[in-house]
Every structure is written in structure tokens, then in C-alpha cells.
């Protein structure tokens, strides 16, 4: 094992191979990344200053795309819709996921792994397939959702202006609540898996010690559990925000390749897609992409700052 061989360097274990071989392992990744990620990324900045008609006809417009976005009511509508959805994730979906994880983490619970599997299972269906299923589930009359509500609340009479609960207009005038409901079904179990993994790493002896010291369940949760799961929680929040802000397939398919009635379900990425591939202006689409990225980076920095402040 001592460095007699010509391939070991005197510095020891790491890097004890002839230079050059490493590139055999790195080249496929680097090559593909340079061509299909780094180069388009630079082009994205160039495109954002152009107006295009399809991928080949272009004119330079400078910052016009960005000033266009700033005064584009449809863009702001898409931002508002996307933020509503993201807030639904943050304030409804994630708390539910944590609550479910806490429930599944309670000692002596039977069939924990079965529950975990069941709650996670909607995640297996891709967004497109969920959208197709949801289109029919939220349909008037024949849809399962309205039939279920009708059989439970039928006696109470429908809300104003709706003939019966069977006619509740989910996909016509309640698009955002519909999207949030679907996302609960899809993602609560998914995020629960992360929380559950984190909870299982909480030091049980610390919880016991706190209990012996007379700390109630809420105090134990705040002072023992929360600090222990904070890194994972922050990862989940980030993941969920990044995903929510890039929402596309679900409303796109659910609403028949459109923003839905009155663009109630138009999201930022959907607007990007419409501008780039239906209108054909890849420049404006790129500018929307940058605006969204700025929002994402801003959120990441905000979260980073909040974490830091909490730790201090």
C-alpha cells in the first residue's frame, strides 16, 4: 500500500491517479451541461433583449420586453394566480403535511408504513394524468367531487346562484381553489415523507427529558422537535415554493390548454409557454423566464435571511 507505484502521488489518498483519467468520467456530464444548459442560459439573456417570430426571425428590442412585462396586465394576473397557489402550498399544504407526519410518527401507531405508502401514492401519478382525472372529478353532475358534496350537504341547499351542489362550478369560477385542492391530494403525502424522515431523527431521549422536566406537548414540539426538523423543513419549503411558482401542467391540461375562463388559472409558466410557443415570441418568453427566476431567487434569499435571523 505504500506509495511504491508510479500512480500514487505523495500527497496520499485523494487524487492518486494519473491526470487526465478524471476527464473520462467528467466529460459526458460537462459536455452535455455546456451544450444543453450553460449555452442556452447565456442565450436566454440574449433572447430576452429580442423580439422573435418563431425561432429564426428576430429583432433587437433592448429592454422593451421587460418594460412590456411590467405593464402587461396578463403577466401580473399570472403572477397573482401563481402566488395564490404558492401561498396555498405554504399555508395549507405544508402544515397538513407536518401534522400528518406528526400523527404517523406517534409511538405505537399500527400500520405506519401502509399509511405512508397510501398518502404518498398520488405522487406516482404524473401531473398530466392527475389533470385528466381531475377534469372528470370536478365535472358538474357526473364528477365525483360534486356527487360527494351533494350526498353530504345536499339537504342544506347549494350556495347562491347554483342550482344544486351537483352544478357547483369548480372549473368555471373556482379555478384556484380547485387547483389548491388537487395539490393537497398530490403533495401532502409527498411532503409528509420528508417531515417524517426528519421527525425520526429527533432525539427521543431529549423529548423524554423534556417531558420529565414538565414540558407540555406544545412546549416539547416548539423547543425540541422544531429545532431538530428545521433544516428539513426549510428544504421542504424551498422545494415546494420552487415547484409551486413553476406550476404549469396541472392548470394547462385541466383548463384545456388555456388559462381558463377569464384567465383565472393562468400561471407564469403557462403565460411563458403561450407567449413563446403560441404567439411565437421566444424573446418575450425568455424575459418572463428571467422575471420568474428573479422571484425565485428573491424568495430563496428571503428564506435564507429568515433562517439566519431565527438562528441568531
Amino acid at each position: 500500500m505504500m506509495g511504491g507505484s508510479e500512480i500514487t502521488t505523495p500527497r496520499g489518498s485523494r487524487g492518486s491517479v494519473p491526470g487526465g483519467t478524471v476527464w473520462v468520467f467528467l466529460a459526458p456530464f460537462l459536455l452535455l451541461t455546456l451544450v444543453f444548459v450553460v449555452y442556452p442560459l447565456t442565450q436566454s439573456a440574449v433572447l430576452a433583449t429580442q423580439q422573435t417570430y418563431g425561432p429564426s426571425a428576430k429583432t433587437f428590442v433592448g429592454a422593451e420586453n421587460f418594460s412590456g412585462i411590467a405593464t402587461d396586465p396578463l403577466f401580473w394576473k399570472s403572477v397573482r394566480n401563481t402566488l395564490v397557489y404558492a401561498m396555498g402550498s405554504l399555508f395549507i399544504q405544508l402544515p397538513l403535511a407536518l401534522a400528518l407526519a406528526l400523527a404517523l410518527n406517534s409511538p405505537r401507531l399500527r400500520a405506519r408504513s401502509v399509511y405512508r405508502l397510501i398518502f404518498f401514492s398520488p405522487q406516482l401519478m404524473g401531473l398530466v394524468f392527475v389533470s385528466i382525472l381531475a377534469t372528470l372529478m370536478f365535472e358538474k353532475q357526473a364528477g365525483l367531487v360534486n356527487q360527494a358534496i351533494h350526498s353530504v350537504l345536499g339537504g342544506f341547499g347549494p350556495p347562491e346562484g347554483v342550482g344544486s351542489w351537483l352544478d357547483y362550478p369548480w372549473l368555471e369560477s373556482k379555478v384556484m381553489p380547485t387547483l389548491i385542492l388537487i395539490s393537497l391530494w398530490m403533495y401532502v403525502g409527498f411532503n409528509m415523507v420528508y417531515f417524517l424522515a426528519a421527525l425520526q431523527s429527533v432525539d427521543a431521549s431529549l423529548l423524554e427529558a423534556a417531558e420529565i422536566d414538565g414540558a407540555g406537548p406544545i412546549a416539547r414540539f416548539r423547543h425540541v422537535t422544531v429545532p431538530a426538523i428545521r433544516p428539513v423543513a426549510s428544504f421542504v419549503v424551498m422545494l415546494s415554493m420552487i415547484g409551486s411558482l413553476q406550476l404549469f401542467e396541472l392548470p394547462y391540461v385541466l383548463l384545456d390548454n388555456s388559462g381558463g375562463p377569464n384567465n383565472q388559472g393562468l400561471t407564469v409558466v403557462m403565460y411563458l409557454f403561450q407567449q413563446g410557443f403560441e404567439v411565437g415570441d421566444l424573446g418575450y418568453a425568455s424575459a418572463i423566464g428571467w422575471a420568474l427566476s428573479v422571484m425565485l431567487i428573491g424568495l430563496a434569499l428571503l428564506q435564507f435571511w429568515l433562517m439566519r435571523r431565527d438562528e441568531a
Binding site: 400528518l100 401507531l109 404518498f120 385528466i132 420528508y194 411563458l272 418568453a285 420568474l292
Partner: protein, 285 residues
């Protein structure tokens, strides 16, 4: 003792709430499968199973595979084969490329290692949305629109995978083993395939599944890149089916079942690896 019985009551209440939530979670699946087996008339006539004289008061004889047969007539199996091929090819190649790059970053010391690591970390947080428009332009310029390489190539080098494999190689592969193999005269490529890959097998399983699922469920890329109907995967085909047969509920549900069943089976077989792979980035990292 009273605290004991209170505890029991709480545990029972918890079981009931969880069981109810589990049922709510599963009902859409049941509805989906049953709807795919019903005729159009029965779809409107009954919420779940059509009533009849069979056991449990269900008209079992009214269930039919007709919707599935019609999917076949519409050429849906071609889309199925496409999805299988795209997802498998992406999974195998992306896993191999990520594993080899992750290995390089974990175990080699070379000029540019810091820069390469930084590149990987930077790309993980890059929103893919930013690449939609310029990615399309690039594929157009390369003549790769409406081609299979145009669909797959952008997904073969996931930075997230490189990061995961870098972690897992660092943890699972001892330096001494690599050195011993080198002294024994193994080539670097042999070492990678015979020593490194077997040691990170759990991560390989997880990442194969993650990439397979991601490609199987991918909609926006094939929607943008592919135009020929005979190249479309299930995700795009079913969205188009919906555009054409909007009220043909049984057909749409059958198409959804066919699209979801393979990944569900795969997941049930590999769920442990999948969940550990998903959470490894968060919990250990």
C-alpha cells in the same frame, strides 16, 4: 389509570382519522379504475360500480374492457412503447452519467475540481423554466426538433444526480479499496464499473426510479420538442385524447390507468429505495 385510558382513546381517534384520510386519498384511484371499466351509460348512471344482481348488489357483468380495446384501436400502445423507451433510456443514461461525474468529483483531485463542484451546485438551483425558450431555439438550430435525441439529450446530465452520487460515493467507497484495485492493475474504467457502482447500488436504484418517473411524467418537453404523433409519449397523447374525446369518460380513464399502472408497479417494487433516495438529499445533506 385514567391517563392510560385517555391515551388509548387518543390512539383510537388517531387511527380513525388516519383511516378516513387514507380512504379519501384512495377513492379517486378506485373511481378512476371503475370508470375505465364502465360503458358511457353506466358512467352517468352510477358513481362507482353499476348496480345489478351480482354479489354485493353489483352488476359485475356490466363491466367491460371495451374502453381499453378502443385505446388499442387508436394506436395508444405505440405511445406506451414510446414512453417506456424514453423513460428507460433517460433513466439508465442519466444515472450512469451522474454516477461517473459524481465519482470524479468525490474521489479525484484535479485542477478545476472546485469550479466543477460549484457548477453542479449552481445548476441545482437553476429554475428549468429559464431554459424553455432558449432550449427550443438551440434544438431548432441543431436540427433536433421532433427527434428523439432532441427530447432526451437535455435530460441526460442532471446536476442534482451528480450531487447525490458525489455524496454517496464519498460515504460508501473507501479510498483504500480504489488504491488496492489500482495496484492490482485494474483500469480506471474497470474500477468504476466493478467497484464503485456496486458500492453505491442503493443510490443507483433510487436515482433510476426518480429519473424514470420524471421522464415518464414529463409533459412540457415532448409537447414542445416533438410534433409527429407517432413519437409522442403517453403524457402528450392522453392530453390530445382529451382534446378530441372530451366526454368519452371511459376512454380517458382507461388511458389514464394504462399510463399510471406501470409506474405504480415499479414504485411498489422499489418504494424503499425511492423514498430513501428522495429524502437523502434533505436529511443527510
Amino acid at each position: 389509570m385514567s391517563s392510560n385510558s385517555a391515551r388509548l382513546a387518543r390512539a383510537a381517534a388517531l387511527q380513525i382519522v388516519l383511516a378516513a384520510l387514507a380512504i379519501v386519498t384512495l377513492v379517486p384511484f378506485a373511481w378512476l379504475i371503475i370508470a375505465s371499466l364502465k360503458t358511457r351509460e353506466d358512467f352517468f348512471a352510477s358513481t362507482f360500480f353499476p348496480p345489478g344482481d351480482g354479489p354485493l348488489g353489483i352488476g359485475w357483468d356490466k363491466l367491460t374492457l371495451d374502453n381499453y380495446r378502443r385505446l388499442g384501436e387508436l394506436g395508444f400502445e405505440l405511445n406506451f412503447v414510446n414512453s417506456m423507451f424514453y423513460a428507460s433510456a433517460t433513466a439508465v443514461l442519466a444515472t450512469l452519467i451522474s454516477a461517473s461525474a459524481g465519482y470524479a468529483l468525490a474521489k479525484f483531485r484535479f485542477r478545476g475540481r472546485g469550479a466543477a463542484t460549484l457548477l453542479v451546485l449552481g445548476l441545482i438551483i437553476l429554475p428549468p423554466t429559464l431554459l424553455i425558450a432558449p432550449g427550443y431555439e438551440l434544438l431548432f438550430n441543431l436540427g433536433l426538433l421532433d427527434t428523439v435525441p432532441g427530447l432526451l439529450l437535455p435530460f441526460l446530465a442532471p446536476a442534482f444526480g451528480v450531487f447525490l452520487f458525489r455524496q454517496s460515493v464519498t460515504q460508501a467507497v473507501p479510498d483504500q479499496l480504489l488504491e488496492a484495485a489500482r495496484i492490482d492493475g485494474c483500469s480506471e474504467v474497470e474500477i468504476f464499473f466493478a467497484i464503485v457502482l456496486p458500492l453505491v447500488r442503493p443510490m443507483i436504484g433510487a436515482f433510476l426510479l426518480i429519473t424514470f418517473l420524471a421522464m415518464w411524467n414529463n409533459f412540457i418537453s415532448p409537447q414542445i420538442v416533438l410534433q409527429s404523433p407517432d413519437k409522442q409519449p403517453l403524457s402528450v397523447a392522453i392530453a390530445q385524447l382529451r382534446g378530441l374525446y372530451r366526454t368519452d369518460y371511459g376512454l380517458l380513464m382507461a388511458g389514464t390507468v394504462v399510463s399510471v399502472a406501470p409506474v405504480a408497479v415499479l414504485f411498489l417494487l422499489l418504494q424503499k429505495q425511492f423514498i430513501s433516495g428522495l429524502t437523502s438529499g434533505a436529511v443527510k445533506g
